[in-house]
């Protein structure tokens, strides 16, 4: 099994969830209000608008579905800050 972790700007949450659906991934964990610092500067977490807020999506699925989704997400996030991470996991 593989774990896909996506950190992305809130404004791209819905398109990202649509990609997961297209790749037949129905289960995910969503964490709102993710803050941090990266290449695109500090994501402050809140400013009355969601523009500077990040969210994190965590998915555990078969490798085939994970890589298919990751490719599409990478294209979608071209002009946005964020990260797409894949790692091996064991579901206990």
């Amino acid at each position: 099994m593989k774990k896909l972790e996506i950190i992305l700007e809130s404004v791209k949450l819905n398109p990202a969830l649509r990609i997961l659906k297209e790749c037949e991934i129905s289960g995910y964990t969503l964490i709102h209000g993710v803050a941090g610092t990266g290449k695109h500067g500090r994501q402050q977490g809140f400013e009355l608008t969601d523009v500077t807020t990040n969210v994190m999506i965590i998915v555990v699925e078969e490798p085939e579905k994970i890589y298919k989704a990751a490719e599409k997400l990478k294209t979608m996030l071209k002009n946005y800050s964020g990260m797409v991470l894949i790692s091996d996991v064991e579901v206990f």
Partner: protein, 326 residues
């Protein structure tokens, strides 16, 4: 001139403006003062409900007069010409790239609810009447500028990535049915339906504490503006001056248009304030979706940390003064 100075001084000594300055100074001095996020969001919901409702109650008293029609025409004209003018000033004169010009134009064409609320409080204190339906004009002026600017960018920058159908739906949803439009329009309708009787029921919540809550919200806004001060360097002097001069130009255009169509003094000032204000809630989200190549540091810093404080502290009394001259 004396009137302008005394108006500015009255505005500068109002608790709302002073709390805004306090929030700004506290953040610059790195004080640990903090207002929880949920409270900030609740306060903004309170304002949109209260101002929408009050406008609706006023409208129920006056009814739909000819002024509503004229004001709607003015709101639509301003909602289109302000972003176009701002775009061409940025793109042609200031030589900014297409995407950033479009992104900034969307913000300056759209409106700021808190600036409107502060201006209406200023007018109430100056005993200048304005019509309740002006809240509806604010809701009406929120979206057109965003669409106009996005279309300008799409037209001039052919290489912009195509928007997927779902993304377009998100954009339309965000621009037309965002929280402020829903609450302002909804509040206006509820106020209109329930009228004076309804107002009596909610007065202790929506009217009496209004100015105190506004002071608390402006403290928060001051802190948000203060947090952005570090990004002034990135914005640069040219855009800094644009963020001050363009609102004044837009306000003067609005006053001339509103005067020529015979609107009352209060409505003229509110149109000036709506035209001068820049959005920092609806526009950033829509622009980030539609014009991702534009730099958010420019448009958020300009609207929140330069234009908003300028309008709150100096702009409102200045537009009031100008509207008396024209």
């Amino acid at each position: 001139m004396t009137e302008l100075l005394s108006g500015s001084l009255n505005n500068l000594t109002s608790p709302m403006v002073l709390f805004f300055i306090l929030g700004f100074v506290a953040t610059v001095l790195k004080s640990d003062l903090e207002i929880p996020n949920a409270i900030g969001k609740t306060l903004s919901i309170y304002f949109m409900m209260a101002i929408g409702f009050k406008g609706g109650v006023e409208l129920s008293k006056t009814g739909f007069t000819g002024g509503v029609m004229i004001s709607t025409v003015i709101a639509v004209i301003l909602g289109i010409i302000i972003p176009v003018l701002s775009f061409f000033v940025l793109f042609k004169w200031l030589k900014l790239d297409v995407t950033n010009s479009g992104a900034i134009a969307a913000h300056y064409g759209s409106v700021s609810v808190v600036t409107f609320v502060t201006a209406s409080t200023f007018l109430e204190q100056a005993a200048v009447h304005f019509n309740g339906y002006m809240v509806g004009m604010m809701a009406l002026m929120e979206s057109p500028a965003i669409f106009v600017s996005i279309l300008l960018v799409r037209y001039l920058k052919k290489s912009t990535t195509d928007t997927a159908k779902g993304d377009l739906q998100d954009l339309i949803k965000e621009s037309l049915f965002n929280a402020s439009i829903v609450l302002l329009t909804g509040g206006l309708i509820i106020g209109y339906i329930s009228g004076e009787k309804g107002m009596e029921m909610v007065k202790p919540f929506f009217v009496q504490p209004f100015n105190g809550v506004l002071a608390l919200f402006l403290l928060e806004m001051g802190m948000l503006a203060g947090k952005r001060i570090g990004e002034f360097k990135e914005v640069g002097l040219v855009l800094f001056f644009f963020a001050i001069i363009m609102p004044v130009v837009n306000a003067i255009i609005a006053i001339i248009l509103a005067s020529s169509l015979g609107l009352s003094e209060g409505d003229r000032v509110l149109f000036a304030v709506l035209s001068a204000s820049a959005s920092y809630i609806a526009a950033p989200a829509a622009v980030r979706m539609a014009i991702p190549e534009a730099n958010p540091s420019y448009y958020i810093t300009m609207s929140l940390a330069i234009t908003f404080p300028f309008n709150i502290i100096f702009g409102i009394p200045f537009y009031f003064y100008i509207s008396q001259l024209i």
